[in-house]
């Protein structure tokens, strides 16, 4: 690669970054470091009343908490980047060996990159955290606050995830889009993708929370958590796009909530869904949100009377 080419890439990279961060403030591009320490100005204060405000502050707190570990960010960036690169190499090999109809290399790459971003947002330690706090008795602290346990964990986790996606995800995405010359879908598709992704996040966090609650019952949640994680990994399409699966397995996935968390939203982004299809997806996502809400209420009702707080 000669010097001119590199310069060109860097220049387009800069424009790309600017485009992606426009909604957050151009300042970011001018001085990333300043924005990191001074994030208050960067994030518009759109929510300002009552509960919303509290969750907003909570998200900011978790956000700020992450900033303290700047080396984490660097290594995570390197790790995630390697992950995407390796995946893309594998997909390329598979496509060369004999492809799948309707799927080309660009789609594969887009899928991998978007999946990495989505994964960043979906990352959740809610179940683990609940189990951990239960084991040490720290859960008592969560109960003496006038807040809902569920939403507290949701927004805390979301704050953390947004931090990673803003500082790491977007950077990786920008570089990838540039390097492989990927196309960005129209604003409508992006909007539908974002709505569907929000549902996806709520679904996954609800599953995590419900699994986490089981710890009050079973005293240890390691294996339920592992099962849930494995199911997510296999059936959500986060690592392997579901189009590689045989038809029977694909339709099996349709019956589980997991594919609605990752695969379906990404498919919307890739423009694989027509109006009718994405409407159906959003409806089914809504259905899952409701089901999980009811499940979680039921579990809560059952365990409430038998909650024990360990330790003196």
């Amino acid at each position: 690669m000669n010097k001119n080419r590199l310069k060109q890439i860097l220049q387009t990279g800069n424009t790309m970054l600017q485009y992606l961060f426009l909604s957050y403030r151009e300042k970011f591009v001018q001085n990333i470091k300043k924005a990191v320490t001074d994030y208050d100005k960067m994030v518009p204060d759109i929510l300002n009343k009552g509960r919303k405000e509290m969750y907003w502050v909570l998200m900011k707190c978790c956000f700020r908490q992450q900033i303290q570990y700047k080396w984490n960010l660097l290594f995570q960036m390197i790790g995630d980047w390697l992950g995407i690169y390796i995946k893309i190499c594998i997909w390329q090999a598979i496509l060369n060996a004999g492809g799948i109809k309707n799927i080309n290399f660009e789609m594969m790459v887009s899928y991998s990159v978007i999946a990495a971003m989505v994964n960043g947002l979906l990352y959740s330690r809610i179940a683990e955290e609940l189990a951990d706090r239960f084991r040490t008795g720290m859960i008592a602290i969560d109960f003496i606050r006038p807040i809902s346990l569920k939403w507290y964990y949701f927004f805390g986790q979301l704050g953390e995830n947004l931090y990673h996606v803003l500082f790491e995800g977007f950077f990786i995405a920008a570089v990838s889009f540039l390097l492989w010359k990927l196309s960005v879908p129209g604003p409508e598709t992006v909007l539908i993708f974002l709505i569907s992704l929000c549902f996806g996040i709520i679904i996954l966090f609800s599953i995590q929370y419900a699994i986490g609650l089981l710890v009050f019952w079973m005293k240890d949640g390691t294996y339920t958590r592992m099962i849930a994680d494995a199911l997510f990994l296999l059936f959500s399409g986060i690592d392997i796009p579901l189009w590689f699966y045989p038809d029977w397995l694909k339709s099996f996935c349709d019956f589980l909530p997991f594919s609605y968390v990752a695969y379906k939203p990404i498919a919307i982004w890739l423009g694989m869904m027509e109006a009718k299809q994405w409407q159906k997806i959003l409806l089914i996502q809504l259905f899952w949100v409701l089901v999980l809400f009811i499940v979680e209420r039921l579990i809560w009702k059952r365990i409430q009377s038998s909650i024990e707080i360990q330790g003196g």
């Binding site: 509290m54 008795g137 109960f143 606050r145 006038p146 909650i307 024990e308």
Partner: protein, 337 residues
């Protein structure tokens, strides 16, 4: 009308009975024997608004379980509790708005954030008004001397600093009831003193009802007006601190330092409890020995350089109660208010 009512409350815990031997242990996978233990057993008491109550008892007496029920974290097996007209576990969030809790062994501070940020988060959490919040932060910062560490991440604070921060956090929203569960555990004398003074000051200024569990009787002596003692989940005693201390008043201590001694003091009702060269400590029962007789005997036997008379500490009375058999003491100790 009492502010906190605890009415015939019992809380049971199922604990798994672990049998001996591998074979028996394996059968428990299929069938398990549980042992039902009562952490709190038919407990009743009431507390009025603005009272400072010391809630004491030996380890495992059920103190923390009671606090957890009062704060709405766990539900009792039977019986009712009302704090300020609310049943805590049914209206956990509503109840949480009116109480402040400090667990000496559990931190509610966020490890990675400075106190200022946590304050801000708690302001939003309890929907504290801006003016009240500012006033309280200023007052607590001053009273607890927190200025030097307000903007340091919590993980860099010392235990004493952290505990002061915990106290401030628990009180930012002006709670009506403050539960302190061993707030002075592991702290040095200076910090302990700061915290005690602060709690008293708070009670005077805001009429906050305080329920304090502790093993440090100096906490009780300096903060509380009233003692409630439980053991094995049942009420042992409920009386004012002054009355409680008078229980030990039939005996006192005399520490005699001397240059020369003919023979140790030997009288009915006088007991040598500590013997050091040139210093004896005697326990004296004042119903059997008058001070006059004691002093004249001492001056006969010793060439005294110094003499100190000490009343028994609250600590000692408590130790006596804890170690005595329930059967023989419960009759004489079960005073009620």
């Amino acid at each position: 009308m009492s502010y906190i009512t605890v009415d015939h409350v019992t809380r049971e815990f199922k604990s798994f009975k672990r049998p001996k031997g591998l074979k028996n242990a394996l059968t428990t996978l299929l069938k398990r024997n549980y042992e039902v233990k009562k952490a709190v057993d038919d407990l009743s008491f009431t507390v009025d608004k603005g009272e400072l109550v010391g809630y004491i008892g030996p380890n495992g007496a059920g103190k923390s379980t009671t606090i957890k029920m009062l704060t709405g974290i766990i539900t009792p097996t039977c019986g009712t509790i009302k704090t300020g007209g609310i049943i805590p576990w049914e209206n956990r969030k509503e109840n949480a708005r009116h109480i402040g809790v400090v667990f000496g062994q559990r931190s509610q501070l966020n490890w990675d954030l400075p106190m200022e940020d946590t304050f801000e988060l708690y302001r939003r959490m309890y929907r504290t008004e801006e003016i009240k919040f500012r006033k309280n932060t200023e007052m607590f910062t001053e009273l607890l001397e927190m200025q030097p560490f307000l903007n340091k991440p919590v993980r860099q604070l010392s235990l004493g600093q952290k505990m002061r921060a915990e106290l401030a956090i628990a009180l930012l929203h002006d709670p009506e009831i403050l539960y302190l569960d061993e707030p002075t555990i592991g702290l040095d004398v200076v910090v302990k003193d700061k915290i005690r003074k602060f709690v008293r000051e708070l009670n005077r200024e805001k009429k906050t009802t305080v329920i304090l569990t502790t093993h440090d009787m100096a906490d009780i002596e300096e903060i509380c007006d009233r003692i409630i003692m439980i053991d094995h989940g049942t009420l042992m005693l409920d009386q004012s601190v002054a009355l409680f201390k008078s229980q030990g008043a039939d005996q006192y201590y005399a520490e005699v330092s001397f240059r020369y001694c003919k023979e140790p003091l030997f009288l009915d009702g006088v007991e040598l409890i500590k013997e050091l060269p040139f210093c004896h400590t005697y326990r004296i029962n004042h119903r059997l020995v008058s001070v006059n007789v004691l002093l004249s005997r001492i001056s006969e036997l010793f060439e005294v350089t110094d003499i100190t008379i000490k009343k028994p500490e609250i600590d000692e009375i408590v130790r006596k109660i804890y170690t005595s058999q329930p059967g023989e003491t419960s009759g004489q100790l079960l005073y009620t208010k």
